[in-house]
Symmetry: C2
Subunit: 502 residues, 2 copies
């Protein structure tokens, strides 16, 4: 059991947690964003990150300091916190990125870990091998073997109170990701980055990204803080958090700004294509796109970077608020509609509804039915599984969208997308869900799945379905021996009828 990470609110596989960073004397609330600071290019000063954006953690690259004539000695003498002028927690990377970009680096795993410790890093990183997507299985396995040796070696480096990351690799092989995560979790290391997802994100492969996260999560304990390494685009924060990520790092805010690119929660715009700023941050409330086009490159870059950071921190806050209110899935629904590839990511998440169901709270604030995808949420799956355990009393049972009928021994409520439930559960989450009047077929077919689950668990019972004009596709999915009655327009649900009578 890792006692540096304390979990609070949960929703799906997402959670709010407190990550204690002992060397910094700081507790970081997750989900958290770690802005990347390159000492050679400080678009926004670390002190500004702290004062203007409330940053309490950042990430920089230990290998850049190691190789820098300008900064190496100063970092060793002053320490990173004084050198960068930042009082929060500082995480460092190891040179793995340089290794994957340039093929070699001039430092060993043990040396760079020791160096990270010596310059005052609060969370260090060994040199793992970031295996790209779609490589042959042999390469993925061989590189993972090396990464695992590096993690084991890292356990023996004396780094005092510095936390150490244990990156999880495995390319696009879910079983390798899961095994890698199990191995990493078995070490004494502390924080678990999911590595080499950047090429997936750069190619809008959000379905693959979600599958990689979910596979890693299956190998990690619930108390493992999970870092989506290199992931800084706010469009996928909600999705990645719902899949179980706690930490993000953003170089994007500055890199994109250099290029005139403007981040939003639904994608990336280019300043040249904007006539209006779809944002109310202090930069966008005070300037028009024309204003930014008409200032010098340095000022434009800084203003865009500030916008990019504002929208990123805003999204972290939005995700946390959704976690607090128990409506993270509703937020993911909205964000999914930013891009077809995000829809893919959301559908990949729902493909794993059974995995999410295990950490999803039994009761939350509200369930909004917002699309055909809502019919596949873990709450619906859980209700269908529960149906096999709910006691059925009568021999002839009516499952009714509307009123009851004396011909039956017992009447249950029937409500898309959940299906049947005893009236006594009407006020329990998620059966209090709010639905649009204009329902999609998916809601009805999910309800038919529920009827089937109940009928299969009670083979001796005769069931009938009372419905208001369900679509043919849903009626066809009902078990063959279930009778159906079309209700009249005056038929109202049992408790609404009794409410009227009170």
């Amino acid at each position: 059991m890792r006692d540096i990470f304390e979990l609070r609110d949960a929703d799906g596989a997402g959670r709010i947690g407190d990550l204690e960073v002992p060397r910094a004397g700081v507790t970081v609330e997750t989900p958290a964003l770690l802005p990347v600071i390159n000492p050679h290019l400080r678009t926004i000063a670390p002190a500004t990150l702290e004062s203007e954006f409330g940053a309490d953690v950042l990430i920089t690259n230990g290998y850049i300091f190691y190789k820098s004539d300008e900064y190496r000695e100063r970092a060793l003498e002053e320490g990173l916190h004084d050198l960068l002028d930042f009082s929060g927690a500082i995480m460092t990377d190891s040179g793995s990125f340089q290794l994957s970009e340039y093929g070699e680096i001039s430092v060993t795993n043990e040396e760079i870990l020791q160096f990270q410790h010596d310059i005052g890093s609060d969370i260090g990183t060994p040199i793992d091998i970031p295996t790209p997507p779609d490589v042959g299985r042999e390469q993925a396995e061989a590189e993972l073997e090396t990464t695992q040796q590096r993690l084991e070696a890292a356990e023996d480096v004396g780094v005092g109170e510095m936390l150490v990351s244990a990156p999880v690799q495995g390319s696009t092989y879910p079983d390798l990701r899961e095994a890698a995560a199990e191995h990493a979790y078995g070490t004494s290391l502390d924080v678990f980055p999911i590595g080499a997802v950047v090429p997936m994100m750069n190619n809008y492969r959000y379905g693959d990204m979600v599958e990689a996260i979910l596979a890693a999560k299956r190998g990690l304990g619930a108390d493992a803080p999970v870092h989506l390494f290199g992931a800084g685009h706010p469009m996928m924060f909600a999705l990645a958090v719902a899949a179980g990520c706690d930490l993000f790092d953003s170089a994007a805010y500055a890199l994109y700004a250099r290029d005139g690119r403007y981040l939003t929660v639904s994608g990336t715009d280019h300043l040249d294509d904007l006539d209006y700023f779809p944002c109310s941050c202090p930069v966008c409330a005070a300037h028009t796109p024309d204003d930014l086009r008409n200032v010098g490159q340095d000022e434009r870059e800084e203003l865009l970077a500030r916008h990019n950071l504002h929208v990123s921190y805003r999204e972290i806050r939005t995700v946390k608020q959704a976690l607090r209110e128990g409506n993270l899935f509703e937020l993911v629904e909205r964000r999914a509609r930013g891009h077809p590839s995000m829809v893919d990511g959301y559908r990949a998440l729902l493909d794993a509804a059974d995995q999410l169901e295990r950490s999803d709270p039994v009761s939350k604030g509200s369930f909004f039915y917002l699309s055909g995808e809502s019919a596949r949420r873990p709450e619906v799956l859980r209700h269908h599984e529960r149906l096999s355990r709910l006691p059925v009393e009568g021999d002839r049972v009516l499952l009714s969208e509307g009123d009851t009928n004396d011909r039956y021994d017992e009447t249950w409520r029937l409500q898309p997308p959940f299906g049947p439930f005893p009236s006594a559960l009407s006020d329990s989450y998620p059966l209090t869900a709010q639905l649009p009047d204009r329902l999609d077929v998916s809601a009805y077919t999910a309800a038919a799945d529920g009827v089937r689950a109940l009928a299969e668990a009670n083979p001796g019972t005769e069931f009938a379905v009372g419905h208001w004009a369900w679509p043919e596709a849903a009626l066809e999915m009902l078990p063959e021996d279930v009778e159906t009655l079309v209700l009249g327009p005056d038929s109202v649900p049992p408790e609404e009828a009794s409410d009227d009578g009170e």
Copy 2:
């Protein structure tokens, strides 16, 4: 033809326009938000609206001035612009709201129009009868008759350059709304508020709201500026613009703030329920919810009102940017997922895809397939209608998701949700649509509709469908005489195959 309103970019029934307000000497770009100013309660000063939020138009209530001991004479002497300290356009309401709330008002239609003119209003309003939803048809007809008499009377009041509104009523009767709109458009009046939608919005009846807008639009010419009267919640701006509204007015920003309510583009939160601000506006970037809970009532109210205005203006800019880029439907998709009732509104909009199709541009920037609803967009409908006019050459035609086949005279591409199209159209909007890899059944059934449309238009031609494992529900919708071939996994679309060979 009304020459005060010039239309530019269009998307669905939405548009960017320039509304010339001659008496103010101002041209207002639409969609525009008119913040409501109550002279007795100035939460945010008009001069601040102008300097901080860029407001170039606001609305106030002429009847309040008419009845005010404090302001009546000052308004007549100084004029509204000096009295309120606002240099943009000023619209005035007439007392209709007070009439509907209190049953009577002490002014005639002609008197209040003349008074609005005399205090310097730039856009005045007659006293219409705001008929609530769900009243009996006789009441709706009788009240509409009165409204229509008032509009006709308004034509004869000498108001110089002041524009005059012609409110469109009709309760929840679409045919009355349409007739009311036709009548209003036939007068010499200038701006067309859709009235009495506030009770619908207060009850989250966005489906009914969309139906009322669409009915009114059917009776109005394209050059009619349309005002959604009383509508100030940013969650529905995109939806209402896509249905054809140009002007909104917001009392909500101030009224909600008084009550501790916090507007977002997906609904309303209460300050008490917020742990994090899901926003980056200058108020939310500089404060936490706790900060706001700990200041005095006046300061809290002002800060919340400023946030509420920031998010409202941000949404107007977001809608305009979407109109410019031709992705307003994508924005509506995202906003629809804020609440089940907004899904209803979006589905009601898609129920009228044929009406929207008439004003929707033939080519736009991109088509993102984002949900089952995307299969019902006007662009898909238009393609299906076009299929009956596209020439088919061969006797045996293969419609293929993958490669071609020598057994057929001709091969067309096949792509959910559009269905078949000649390869030559592959690069034309909307056939360049981006889709998720994980497609929903609606995309396939829409494609099957397309096949059916083509087959019905070419009864002498033998069609075959080459597909990769379409779901049963879509295959069942194909015409019976269409042969189906399941393609192998190696099959690739024709032009991709030829691209590879180049």
